[in-house]
């Protein structure tokens, strides 16, 4: 009796459809009630609920029933929460997103929540539950899943795992923009692209010849950041450092016994890189004149461009900054 009372106050979503789909909904309702039943061990209830909903969904009447897809998405989300939160590549989580999206796509209520009461056999008793279909709840679940994708994207941002980070970030975007269509994604785009660019740059700098393709990938990402936000300090500074470091790297990698024709080509290329670095370093300096690293960068760029007087001016600024005056 106690269990029946508990079940009776569980709220879930349901789209009012044709009456003939109610029988099919018995299994669907049972799945979600079971998934929520705190009297049953978490692992047992999630496994059983998943089994029930996976069977129920094979019913032809479930194919276009948004409630069935919502319940499936919900149960898959619960499975992810119970068993797979450490799995950055969780297929269950991806499935949960896909099912919840399908529920929203099939929803013909135009976003209006509504309820339906369903009775079915549950642990030898007749259970009666009130089920609510509320697209807003689906969006909240997508927002939750989106946040897990974003966190996993951040934790996977390293040389070995960045492809997973990208996949997770793209999923975050997909979820959050469904959950909150007016979400300010630009801020996150700038953060993620800057972070990913530093990963690419680290890979590039471990071996500038073997990993040369990462130079262009890094450059492209920083430029994307600056397209989104021209005044992004990190984007400007990092892009200037990318060019500057590469220019110096080219010279450092050159053998002192290299032929003069080769030297000409290398110095042409490095000079071009120093020239490319300059406007971004100047912009970073204009955005934050007290940043020591930018002053050091400008001192180096001007020195490399053989503009000794200007280089010395930045050297003096660094010394002034260091003196605390």
């Amino acid at each position: 009796m106690k269990r029946s009372i508990h079940i009776a106050v569980v709220f879930f979503a349901l789209l009012l459809g044709a009456q003939d789909i109610f029988a099919q909904r018995d299994s669907v309702a049972k799945a979600i009630v079971l998934a929520q039943d705190q009297n049953v061990n978490a692992e047992v209830r999630v496994k059983k609920a998943l089994e029930i909903i996976d069977n129920a969904i094979t019913n032809p009447e479930s194919a276009n029933d948004p409630f069935a897809w919502y319940v499936r998405g919900y149960v898959y989300k619960e499975w992810y929460k119970t068993f797979e939160t450490q799995n950055k590549k969780s297929k269950t989580r991806l499935n949960a997103v896909a099912f919840l999206k399908k529920a929203l796509e099939l929803d013909t209520s135009k976003g209006k929540p509504f309820s339906v009461t369903q009775s079915f056999h549950y642990f030898g008793q007749i259970a009666t539950v009130t089920l609510d279909f509320d697209p807003q709840i689906i969006r909240q679940i997508l927002k939750y899943l989106g946040s897990t994708f974003y966190n996993d994207a951040g934790s996977m941002l390293d040389a070995a795992n960045y492809p997973v980070a990208i996949e997770n970030y793209e999923k975050f975007k997909e979820c959050i923009l469904i959950a909150e269509p007016k979400y300010n994604i630009k801020l996150r785009e700038v953060e993620f692209k800057n972070a990913l660019a530093t990963v690419y740059e680290k890979i590039f700098r471990t071996d500038i010849k073997a990993n040369s393709q990462y130079f262009g990938m890094t450059e492209d990402l920083y430029k994307q950041v600056l397209t989104l936000d021209t005044n992004n300090w990190g984007g400007n500074y990092n892009l200037s450092m990318l060019y500057y470091n590469y220019g110096v790297d080219l010279i450092n990698a050159m053998s002192v016994t290299e032929d003069i024709v080769v030297i000409e080509n290398i110095t042409d290329e490095s000079t071009l890189l120093f020239k490319k670095a300059l406007p971004y370093a100047l912009k970073a300096n204009a955005l934050n004149p007290k940043k020591r690293e930018v002053l050091v960068c400008l001192m180096g760029i001007y020195f490399s461009l053989y503009e000794q007087e200007t280089s010395d001016e930045f050297k003096a600024k660094i010394e002034l900054l260091d003196s605390g005056k």
């Binding site: 946040s147 974003y150 966190n151 951040g154 110096v248 016994t257 003069i260």
Partner: protein
């Protein structure tokens, strides 16, 4: 609330990560290396008389300069033909005794060029300078900066005065001074 805290912490970690960037290597060494590489090439594209093709290949630096250390670090383990490089430091023109294949006069010591020219008379020494106008005043090769790039002027007659032969390849890459 806990969930949002986790999200915020992650955002912070990512933001903190991308501002960390290693400072680039010291550009002083890069510019010195370019000059050293040019000097190495002068040994390939300039021909010294036979009697200068024995013993060490001496490169002298006139005046106190970090470039002496740079040259030592970059060339002392290298050789030209069978000759090992020997980098010497001279305090003034009078101290340049014995064979000196290449003499580099730093910009700060350019005023010593006339006395060096007197001192080097009759010897086969390539005089290399790094100050505007020096190639017209007697040096064979003068490093200059053109369009933010290290280049060199070459005064063929000044080089040939010392019984040295310049290859056409080197001359074609230089800014010719007459």
């Amino acid at each position: 609330m806990r969930k949002y805290l986790i999200i915020l912490i992650t955002f912070f970690c990512i933001s903190a990560d991308w501002v960390r960037m290693p400072i680039g290597p010291d550009p002083n060494n890069s510019n010195a290396k370019i000059k050293a590489t040019f000097i190495y090439n002068f040994t390939k594209y300039i021909d010294w008389p036979e009697k200068y093709k024995e013993g060490n290949f001496v490169i002298g630096v006139l005046g106190t300069s970090s470039f002496y250390n740079d040259l030592t670090a970059l060339l002392s383990t290298k050789s030209v033909g069978k000759q090992t490089f020997e980098i010497k430091s001279y305090s003034n023109s009078e101290s340049i005794t014995g064979v000196c294949h290449i003499l580099f006069i730093t910009a700060d010591n350019s005023a010593m060029l006339p006395s060096v020219i007197k001192q080097m008379k009759g010897k086969s020494t390539l005089i290399v300078t790094e100050k505007s106008g020096m190639a017209k005043q007697g040096s064979g090769i003068n490093f200059v900066v053109e369009n933010n790039k290290q280049r060199f002027e070459l005064n063929k007659s000044n080089i040939e005065k010392y019984n040295l032969k310049v290859s056409s390849t080197l001359a074609s890459l230089a800014i010719a001074i007459e």
